[in-house]
Symmetry: C2
Subunit: 229 residues, 2 copies
């Protein structure tokens, strides 16, 4: 009986030949990023050790430096490969959507939650909030690659509703934050035990309800572009 295979690095099927490890140049990066996302989300960027990522990915710390220049580079890659693609997908979904402004806004929030909130990606906002000030280059990357595009997406949905007279003519940059804030907080709460018992789905539906009626056009509203009375 063989000893338990506790720290064998191979994951691919190995039949007869007992090799200590196998060369898997193409599979490594993905496995490293998978492990890194899990750990970054659970413990934060600083608190995650490169060696932990390595162990979770079935390699040694040294190996990681063959694929990524440094720890920051790992997180950038995680964002680039797993988060950014979903934004493109989201942009397409919105372009195809057919319905009212309020319906579009609800759709955007629910889709956002399905694609991020309900997945491991929900941990990234907390990560960036926590580490942005200590890793400015990381913050810049995230702002340009993720936030800017995500907010454009929300902005277009709100503008759509304003144009149809269903939302009041709020300042777009501010309104975007009003929509973004409760959703981002939901992701933060999901990845912290700050709010143990909260039913996030219930919360989100209430957010949608509140936003749609809170942003809704009202009798006395002046039209977009009009000057003060």
């Amino acid at each position: 009986m063989k000893p338990e295979n506790t720290d064998c690095t191979e994951r691919c099927p190995v039949l007869e030949t007992v090799t200590r490890w196998t060369r898997r140049k193409d599979a490594r990066p993905g496995e490293i990023l998978d492990a890194a996302l899990d750990l970054f989300v659970a413990r934060g960027f600083s608190a995650t050790k490169v060696e932990d990522i390595a162990r979770a990915a079935g390699v040694t710390a040294g190996t990681i430096y063959r694929y990524y220049a440094n720890k920051e580079d790992i997180l950038k890659a995680v964002i680039r490969e797993s988060l950014v693609p979903t934004l493109q997908e989201g942009e397409q979904l919105i372009a195809q959507f057919d319905g009212s402004g309020p319906e579009l806004l609800a759709f955007v929030i629910r889709t956002w939650w399905q694609m991020h909130g309900a997945t491991k990606l929900s941990g990234i906002p907390k990560l960036m909030i926590a580490e942005a000030s200590n890793f400015p280059e990381l913050a810049r990357f995230h702002r340009e690659e993720v936030i800017a595009r995500g907010e454009n997406l929300i902005a277009s949905a709100i503008q759509f509703g304003i144009d149809r007279g269903e939302f009041r003519p709020v300042a777009l940059d501010v309104a975007v934050k009003v929509v973004v804030a409760p959703v981002v907080m939901a992701m933060v709460w999901k990845n912290t035990d700050i709010c143990p018992g909260l039913d996030l789905d219930h919360y989100l539906e209430e957010v949608i309800e509140t936003l749609i009626h809170g942003l809704g056009a009202r009798p006395g509203d002046k039209q977009n572009g009009e000057s003060e009375a």
Copy 2:
């Protein structure tokens, strides 16, 4: 001409005698907490070195351990001494308030912002979001001493509006989060450069407007406690 007094620790007036330091048993703790809050907020808990706090407070690292058992204890003291008292103050203000439900909600949010958002204390939510999972005891302390009391405060304001028929009968625990989220995010944004150009006061007024109308009672609402039709 004397050499510049670069690292002299004394802050009290010293006339002739050049002393390396003075004993200031009663002044030290406050100065240490002041410095600690600044640094914790700016850099996060983990990233703040005890020696940095010491230097900023005009003492040495060793001195800090005369007053606080460890780094976590410093943060607890900061919260206990600077944040918790403002909650008591807030509770009183609300008890005295005279006005409608929507007016009370707006008052609570503006007061909260004046007392926390506009001060250094605004950095604490970011701090807790960032470190809660790595310092469970700190998280528990914050949840019990700060969050629980703060949410009771919000809850009572919303309940007041529901009782007067001005707000619709939302689930209280969820509604509290709907109110809390955009304010907490404002504090987070204020302490990160995630949203560089945002006008937070404008944002907050829009949040208030949106919440009041979003939570507002509407013709078809069933009364609190009624069963489904």
